[in-house]
């Protein structure tokens, strides 16, 4: 066996191990959720859908999921809108201090979420808006804006500025040229930015935990509370539903808009 083919086998093996490492917890969750037994055991002795029927037993899970959903949609939408403006400034205009602005907008990815959460709750208390749906949305916008900024800057960098010039020379006003020519080029960037923002917001725990109190609660918080007090695989059933829905969403977006090309740096 030559050295080259040995290297290739090693690399292939490592790659497959890495994929298995990533997929295994997902499969395990699904298997556990279908297990008839109360205790988590592997492999399962008998299959059942009882834990799926038990999802309702998670305290206020319906309400909490609805809050998470509305907060995720609202914060992702606003983040996309603000992100579009920021991305246009970053990608298309000679902005002074551009690296600083870019780094600032992307910073929520690197700053510990607990720090962001503490800062946000103090801020909201100071302005008297703490523990409301709105404050949760604003907090999540801070959290997720980096994602649409990033995908939209990528989309704008890939899109051709001469397209907009061409539209202008053909008689389109600045706004019309943007709407009819530039915006359609940004669709993959918007879709992937929205999707990432939505997903990051939807299952965020560390920031939300600072921003909710009393009646206001979110899905990850209630699921986590349930796990703290119960040992049965109901959260696994919930997670499996969640994983399936998200996977379908991402697959659809990828199939329709090729979003991966924008989110994986090249």
């Amino acid at each position: 066996m030559s050295e080259g083919s040995l290297t290739r086998i090693t690399v292939t093996l490592v790659a497959w191990l890495a994929i298995a490492f990533m997929v295994f917890p997902v499969i395990l969750t699904a298997v556990v959720s279908l297990n008839a037994s109360f205790f988590i055991e592997f492999p399962p002795k008998a299959l059942s859908l009882q834990w799926y029927e038990n999802i309702g037993a998670i305290h206020r899970i319906g309400e909490a999921t609805l809050v998470s959903l509305t907060v995720a949609v609202a914060s992702a939408a606003v983040a996309c809108l603000l992100g579009l403006g920021a991305a246009l400034a970053i990608a298309r205009h000679p902005l002074p201090g551009k690296p600083v602005v870019t780094a600032f907008l992307l910073s929520p990815i690197t700053v510990p979420m607990v720090a962001i959460g503490i800062a946000l709750v103090q801020f909201f208390i100071a302005i008297g808006a703490a523990f409301t749906w709105w404050s949760l949305v604003v907090g999540h916008i801070v959290l997720v804006i980096a994602y649409p900024v990033r995908t939209l800057v990528a989309a704008l960098t890939l899109s051709d500025t001469s397209l907009e010039d061409a539209a202008r020379s053909l008689g389109a006003s600045r706004w019309r040229a943007f709407r009819t020519v530039t915006l359609p080029q940004l669709k993959p960037g918007l879709v992937s930015g929205f999707l990432f923002a939505f997903l990051i917001s939807f299952d965020n725990y560390p920031i939300s935990v600072f921003l909710v109190r009393g009646d206001l609660t979110t899905m990850p918080i209630e699921v986590f509370n349930y796990i703290s007090n119960n040992f049965d695989p109901t959260p696994a059933a919930f997670s499996t539903v969640y994983i399936v829905v998200v996977s379908v969403l991402i697959a659809l977006a990828e199939w329709r808009y090729r979003i991966m090309s924008l989110s994986i740096p090249r």
Binding site: S162, A167, R168, S169, L170, G171, A172, S173, A177
Partner: protein, 360 residues
């Protein structure tokens, strides 16, 4: 269709003086090539005419009307971009219709005009395709149809053949010329390719460092360039230095080692040092010495099929590039290392200025 005038236009971009006192008139229906090396300001000139760049001073007029403050969408200027800039999310038909829709052309007329414009570039069957499904040549023809269907006053072509391969360029060159002539639109072609400029345009404006340095018909500029730079930019050339000698009516230039070359011009005083230029194809290779021939040794022969480039070394480290037909070498049975005699016809010895004048 209209006359285009640039009147003492200056443009500064990012602290740099891009266009310097540029004055240029393109006549109604004329096709002018803006030729120059990259960074000479030719693209900025185009963008100024299109309205994407505002001149810091000076005036741009289309059909006598000053358009300095008119935005690009109100100028009625058609542009074919270097990369064509076709809208990827629209079909060929939608691309061509875009300008008409922006002009609120009645939708009943749009279909017919799009069809006619596509027929003119022989793409009538491609209206439903997307740009990604077209070849480079087809994309360019769509871009041409899209820019001309709006019946622009001025048509601007930015390196129109730059992205095409050699063979396609030759066919597109002919097509482009015919299209421009049949539409009769005042046209500016921006190019760094001298061949493109020579073959496509009625007149060539040569630009260096933001200035117009020469202006003339392709033939006039090629055969009688005003300066060394223009001569070298427009094609292969030979330059040599000498001293003017006058003997009554005749003028000659004395180069090294008793070589006296009679010239056809007389606007220089005796004793003046001048620079001469001659195109490689105007030098004749002779097997035998004659009056005013330059004895040389063949250093290199580069066979090109229809033509052959011969590089020869002359006296006083002179070196010439001669372009001739292969039969010429063959008939005289000349090859590398042989001695030849160059004949430099008086009417092809151009007097060149060293520096670039502001105007030709």
């Amino acid at each position: 269709m209209a006359r285009l005038e640039l009147d003492h236009v200056d443009v500064w971009l990012g602290g740099q003086h891009i266009l310097r006192d540029l004055s240029l008139t393109v006549e109604e229906g004329e096709c002018l090539a803006l030729l120059g090396p990259s960074g000479c300001g030719k693209t900025t000139t185009l963008r100024t005419v299109a309205g994407f760049v505002r001149p810091n001073s000076g005036e741009v007029r289309i059909g006598g009307q000053s358009i300095g403050r008119t935005p690009p969408n109100k100028r009625n200027v058609g542009i074919v971009f270097q990369d064509y800039a076709l809208f990827p999310h629209m079909t060929v038909g939608q691309n061509v219709a875009y300008g008409l829709e922006m002009r609120r052309t009645p939708s009943g007329d749009i279909a017919g005009r799009v069809r006619d414009a596509l027929a003119l570039v022989r793409l009538e069957d491609y209206a439903d395709r997307y740009p990604a499904q077209l070849s480079g040549g087809q994309k360019q023809r769509v871009a041409l149809a899209r820019a001309t269907v709006i019946r622009p006053d001025i048509l601007l072509l930015d390196e129109p053949l730059g992205a095409l391969d050699r063979k396609l360029r030759d066919t597109m060159q002919v097509e482009l010329k015919q299209l421009q002539r049949s539409l009769g639109i005042t046209t500016i072609i921006v190019t760094h390719d001298q061949e493109e400029a020579l073959s496509l345009s009625d007149r060539i404006a040569v630009m260096f460092e933001g200035r117009l340095t020469a202006l003339g018909t392709p033939e006039n500029l090629y055969e009688g360039p005003p300066s060394v730079k223009v001569m070298e930019f427009l094609g292969a050339s030979n330059t040599l230095e000498g001293t003017v000698e006058r003997d009554g009516e005749t003028t000659a230039v004395a180069c090294a080692d008793g070589i006296h070359l009679p010239v056809a011009w007389s606007d220089a005083a005796a004793g003046e040092t001048v620079r001469l230029g001659i195109r490689p194809e105007h030098i004749a290779l002779e097997a035998d010495a004659g009056a005013h021939t330059v004895p040389c040794t063949i250093d290199e022969v580069v066979y090109k099929g229809a033509a052959v480039d011969v590089f020869v070394n002359g006296p006083a480290s002179m070196r010439f590039h001669v372009n001739t037909v292969p039969a010429r070498l063959h008939d005289a049975s000349l090859s590398r290392g042989d001695t030849v005699h160059l004949s430099l016809p008086a009417r092809h010895l151009i007097k060149l200025s060293e520096h670039e004048g502001a105007h030709p």
